[in-house]
Subunit: 229 residues, 2 copies
Amino acid sequence: MGRIEYKNYDRFLLAVDCIIFGFDGSGLKALLIKRGLEPEIGKWSLMGGFAEKEESVDSAAQRILYKLTGLEKIYMEQLHCFGDVGRDPGGRVVSIAYFALIKIDESSTELLNSHNAKWFDLKKLPSLVFDHKAMVKLAKERLQQKVSNHPIGFELLPTKFTLQQLQGLYEAIFETAFDKRNFTRKILSLGILQRLDEKEKESSKKGAFYYIFDKKKYKQLESEGIKLI
Amino acid sequence: MGRIEYKNYDRFLLAVDCIIFGFDGSGLKALLIKRGLEPEIGKWSLMGGFAEKEESVDSAAQRILYKLTGLEKIYMEQLHCFGDVGRDPGGRVVSIAYFALIKIDESSTELLNSHNAKWFDLKKLPSLVFDHKAMVKLAKERLQQKVSNHPIGFELLPTKFTLQQLQGLYEAIFETAFDKRNFTRKILSLGILQRLDEKEKESSKKGAFYYIFDKKKYKQLESEGIKLI
DNA sequence: TAAATAAATGTATAATATACACTTAATATT
DNA sequence: AATATTAAGTGTATATTATACATTTATTTA
């Protein structure tokens, strides 16, 4: 069968917008840029761009994440298609939003600077262009839901981390405090953490053991979707 | 600020495809049509169509559901954007998939016939065009997930239904058997069902009480997202 | 009035979630 | 060398929820 091009249907600009989450030990953060084109040039915005004809939408999202952070092979998930008619005053643009989880210190500072990018605490977001606020809100809800059943929170932490850092991350994501004993017991009972002999000693005299993942168990749980929180 | 049209970016055909779920007392069903245009004309397909410039993507999905079933104000949820380059051999079409839950006997028979539509058991699907099989698979997974935490299963049942019908629905969705006593206890403990004095008497001599929803409790749970299964 | 049928119901046990406070290891201070 | 300081690390009791499992009940039909 030859290639038939569908005729006489409306064509759309397709944007991809990325909610890039990070965690710096205190709050959950999102990476925002100063928008570089009209309309609303100079306002805070999610990193985005237009999809191109010869790439998949997923690839476009990866390309755009790479463009801002220099990072590849990052945990990224499609969030939602935002398709309201008036969402972008610059034209009829349908946007596919993705969220990504990155280790906050691994992105390229030069790239971030060149895009006028900045990390913002989720609880202190500036006003954003278009419907980007709704995107962030939905992304946060999805992250909460996802992190409850899938071991992806680790994507936001350094390779080795203490139990208190892990708990701090979950508390930041859910904006609630957990009981240390119960949290520790539960997370260790999953058997996906491996304790190192090394200790983190900056925040206490006693020092807290570092942990890393047991990759094998991790993969297993990822596919099964075990309840974490 | 005037209206700026973004220039020089690729434009895409935007399709909307609907996974329409129904339940007839035995298995979970999906509504399929015989595709009416090339390529792959005559093959089984999800109901779909192209989005138009002056409507939101959500509206397009509603329009397409209405076109096939004659139904409005239906539970419908965006599923996922399918954006691979080669997904539609007829052109570069990005599709936004939605899933809908309808009462199987409420759709217009004339409309269904005019589209050559037919209900298929999810476990006995024919081969489908493009990536529609993946869409159905994802929709089923999302339905399972959603129905576990939100009281939406009822959208698939008649207004009044018996506990056995409700259990049958959940068993069909999860493709597993539940213990009748535990299921009944749990579902009734939510307090969202109201028992009628009327009984269904076709399937037994004793007869089974009909239930309807307690709308107020229903709304409350819908927003809170209480665990059902 | 007996038989047949599916509906309706309860209880014991296991697993999981929650609430709650003291001990320990290492360093810093006197 | 002894003591104070700091956050890390840990256990137990109770409540809640999930699971496993079989008999009684209401109604119709023979």
